[in-house]
Amino acid sequence: MSDGYIKKATRHVNQNEDLIFERSSPGKKGYRLPPLDVPEVDYTKALGESARPDLGNMPEVSEMEIIRHFTRLSTWNYAIDLGMYPLGSCTMKYNARVNEVVARLQGLAEAHPWQPERVSQGALRIMKTLSDCLLDITGMDAITLQPAAGAHGEMTGILLIHACLNSQGNPRKKILIPDSAHGTNPATAAICGYAVENLKSNARGMVDIAALAAQMNEDVAGLMLTNPNTLGIFEQEIAKIAGILHQKGGLLYMDGANMNALVGKTRPGDFGVDVMHLNLHKTFSTPHGGGGPGSGPVACKKALEPFLPKPTVVEKPDGTLGFDYNRPQSVGRVRMFYGNFGMHVRALAYIMANGPDGLRQTTEDAVLNANYIRRKLDGVYDLPYKSASMHEVVFSDDLQAKKGVKTGDIAKRLIDYGFHPYTVSFPLVVHGALMIEPTESESLEELDLFIDAMKSIAREVEEDPELVKTAPHTTRVSRLDETAAARKPVLRWKPAPTK
């Protein structure tokens, strides 16, 4: 293995660790309760038939072992805190620690969602301030912070479109979705009762205006557009797109997953979008936490406001803030309480730490980084679409496929080079896609290491394709058998059968 080319990583001794159940033994304890200050109650009597005999295989371990267990596990993960994480479409940017600190302030972390408004003014102020910021950032008129993630925001947005059109007499039947769209888009449309109609991209990787015009009609409720789209390309004909939609009474939904390319530079509300979601866990830096939580606020134009989920945050005549539940036209509630409030706190902290200048610089750096990578790797990897890139760039494995090496193999080999891979095989419009989004959080030095690694792997593909196809070689587990996992799923631990 040509470890000599690897500059960013080295192998190091790393702890093994069994499943927590395999560490458990009766009588170990990781907790202690304070003495009970009220009379004890025999729960078997109090609950009768509903009483539980025991808790089966729940673990019994000490605090020391718990610290070690999860600390050891954590060392098996790659993370933003360790290095570049160029997952396209995921905006893996720096998650500032101050955000974690403020989210844990007692008055916020211990606030019950149903405590009286009188003692919730702090939380309400945060929601209101964040809402105002996001409205100016998007150029929209009204907003809900309730959705828990991007897909949830999409659903909320499409429900808004449904309700709005319905209030005009006809909710319509179809949603148009470009072939480059993320899977949540069509899945969302389906949940909302719409049929999905695919819209083909043109050779420049953008919406084909003629096709759109042809497909648009009175059956179409709207278009779900990602802008910049998943190829990292800004839809330059956005005005025409919105025009075509609006002319036929449809509405333009924007998937705001890629807002990191736009914040402070342009506003969807200004270029014709009617409703959109934001991913606070992407653009606004709330941590991904190994898959979530996220937060997917939905912003919309005035016409859609009456339909927003309830409650909304409003300023009351006495100047205090409160929740408005009295919204007869609302699509209803998409989540209990008010959404992932803890993520609202973090997103607002991010905005405040940046200010208008910082947000703009952030966007500029994100786009600068992507274009730098593009320039350096163009030719080393095939660039299927030549349109200008915004915050991400999508290559294909065309050149490497000739040696039998696929995007997934190159990705695995990047691991040996000390990087998290890019997004593999998405968007679907590019065969064998390498979707690279560096975000603004990468230094020139880290980018150069990445570029260097990508070039080195391309060389390896020529010289020793097997090396790449069997990567990674430096991790504590080698390539895992995903097919076997799906064929005979083992989804939980069970004690070894005793006899």
């Binding site: 805190d81 211990e110 149903w114 405590q115 080698s478 895992l480 996992a485």
Partner: protein, 441 residues
């Protein structure tokens, strides 16, 4: 900006290498008329200390340190400090979804442990990696029941959390999936006769919550019998996961949708929490959400991967079991750590303490008002009916830095001046006595 790792010369050099004269060139794909020519109207760039000061002020204007007797779907439990110590490690906090298992075994094994523990606690065969929360999870459960049974309506108990019911309505409104509700008895449990009336041959599932919104523990087996007899599935929603420390698991259910906030997740003004769905093995391919499965690497070593993703939106698109993508992984990890800390004995002991507090409190409140829904077992919530409007009582309590029970008028006008009180291990006898006294004034 202090987060950005670039010097001005770095930027100049990069632009030069790209072949651009200015950064604006890179934004030229945006039509000029849409380019923003002004600063965003957001607060000016602040120092870290200023950010903290701002939120500290907000936190102080937010009932910090009040005694809390609210439950109703969000529970105030002690959070052992090791939870935050562990999930604050960058390797958990700042990792993405574990799509690359070779460098994500930490997250994957933790979630596999989560799935296992949820199975142990609920008595189901399989559990997923998390849903947004209990309310959206319950909506997804209905939709799953529809997929499993091919039937197209649902019957939901009125004692399911009112906001869960609202969410279910929102989710299903355009799916041709009507939801009928059925009533409760004077003992707080579901009205089986009413259920029997409302269930039809098109009922995909019956949904109950246990302990239900009034804190009453349902006779799950009986409801299951009835549902199954009619060819419907039984979905059990659990809003207070800690109840499973002493309450029999709903093994008779076909799908369990649980909110795990009680397991070490801060109240946090309503979120982030973590829902989770569990079911029978045979239904797993209709289950929404991510799943972690065990497998082997090319050397035969055990490892974990995301699996059965053909159910999911990124593969199946409009035919997926759900549109969910980002879930609540870190919160599920919190819950995993919490369940590990308390474990087999601690969850029981803790649940017993909660029960004892509620029994004591209900006994005290009984002297000042009427405890509704007697005659069926309860966990740690109870409904107190008073002469006075509970809002007034609560206003009085606020002066004593106490947040009283949840007034039920909004959702159950038929109960009059009733409020839902909750006592956990964090409510001291002293707090309880003081609250009882204030109620009785």
């Amino acid at each position: 900006m202090r987060y950005l790792p670039k010097s001005p010369t770095d930027r100049v050099q990069m632009l030069r290498e790209i072949g651009c004269k200015s950064i604006d060139e890179l934004f030229s794909p945006i039509p000029a008329e849409y380019r923003l020519g002004r600063d965003l109207k957001v607060p000016r760039q602040m120092a870290e200390s200023e950010v903290i000061d701002y939120f500290r002020e907000c936190a102080e204007a937010n009932g910090a340190g009040y005694a809390v007797f609210l439950g109703a779907g969000a529970y105030h439990h002690y959070r052992p400090v090791v939870i935050d110590a562990l999930i604050s490690r960058g390797e958990f906090l700042t990792a993405y979804t574990p799509y690359q298992p070779e460098i994500s075994q930490g997250t994957l094994q933790a979630i596999f442990e989560f799935q296992t523990m949820i199975c142990e606690l609920t008595g189901m065969d399989v559990a997923n990696a998390s849903m947004y929360d209990g309310s959206t999870g319950s909506a997804e459960a209905l939709m799953m029941a529809v997929r499993v049974t091919g039937r197209r309506s649902a019957v939901v108990a009125r004692t399911v959390h009112p906001e869960y019911r609202e969410v279910m309505h929102t989710y299903t409104q355009h799916q041709g999936l009507p939801i009928r509700e059925f009533d409760y008895l004077e003992n707080g449990r579901v009205n089986m006769a009413d259920l029997e009336k409302k269930i039809t041959s098109d009922t995909a599932c019956v949904m109950i919550q246990s302990p239900n919104f009034f804190g009453t523990i349902e006779d799950v087996a009986a409801v299951a019998d009835l549902a199954h007899k009619k060819g419907a599935l039984l979905v059990v929603s659990i809003a207070e996961a800690l109840s499973l420390g002493i309450v029999k698991p709903p093994v008779e259910a076909d799908i369990v949708s649980m909110e795990s906030q009680s397991f070490g997740v801060p109240l946090g003004f309503g979120g982030p929490y973590a829902g989770v769905m569990a079911t029978k093995e045979k239904f797993v391919r209709q289950m929404p959400g991510r799943l972690v499965g065990e497998t082997k690497d090319s050397n035969g070593k055990r490892g974990f991967v995301l699996t059965l993703s053909t159910r999911e939106q990124h593969i199946r698109r409009e035919k997926a079991t759900s549109n969910i993508c980002t879930n609540q992984a870190l919160i599920a990890t919190m819950a995993t750590i919490y369940m590990t800390i308390y474990g087999r004995e601690g969850l029981k002991e803790l649940a017993q303490q909660n029960l004892a507090k509620a029994v004591y409190a209900a006994g005290q409140f009984a002297k000042k008002g009427k405890i509704l829904f007697q005659g069926a077992p309860r966990f740690h919530e109870f409904v107190v009916q008073t002469k006075q409007d509970p809002h007034e009582i609560n206003n009085r309590l606020l002066e004593k830095k106490t947040i009283g029970g949840f007034p039920l008028q909004r959702f159950y006008p038929e109960l009059g001046n009733a409020a839902l009180w909750c006592c956990t291990e964090l409510n001291t006898k002293e707090q309880i006595d003081a609250a009882v006294q204030a109620v009785g004034q």
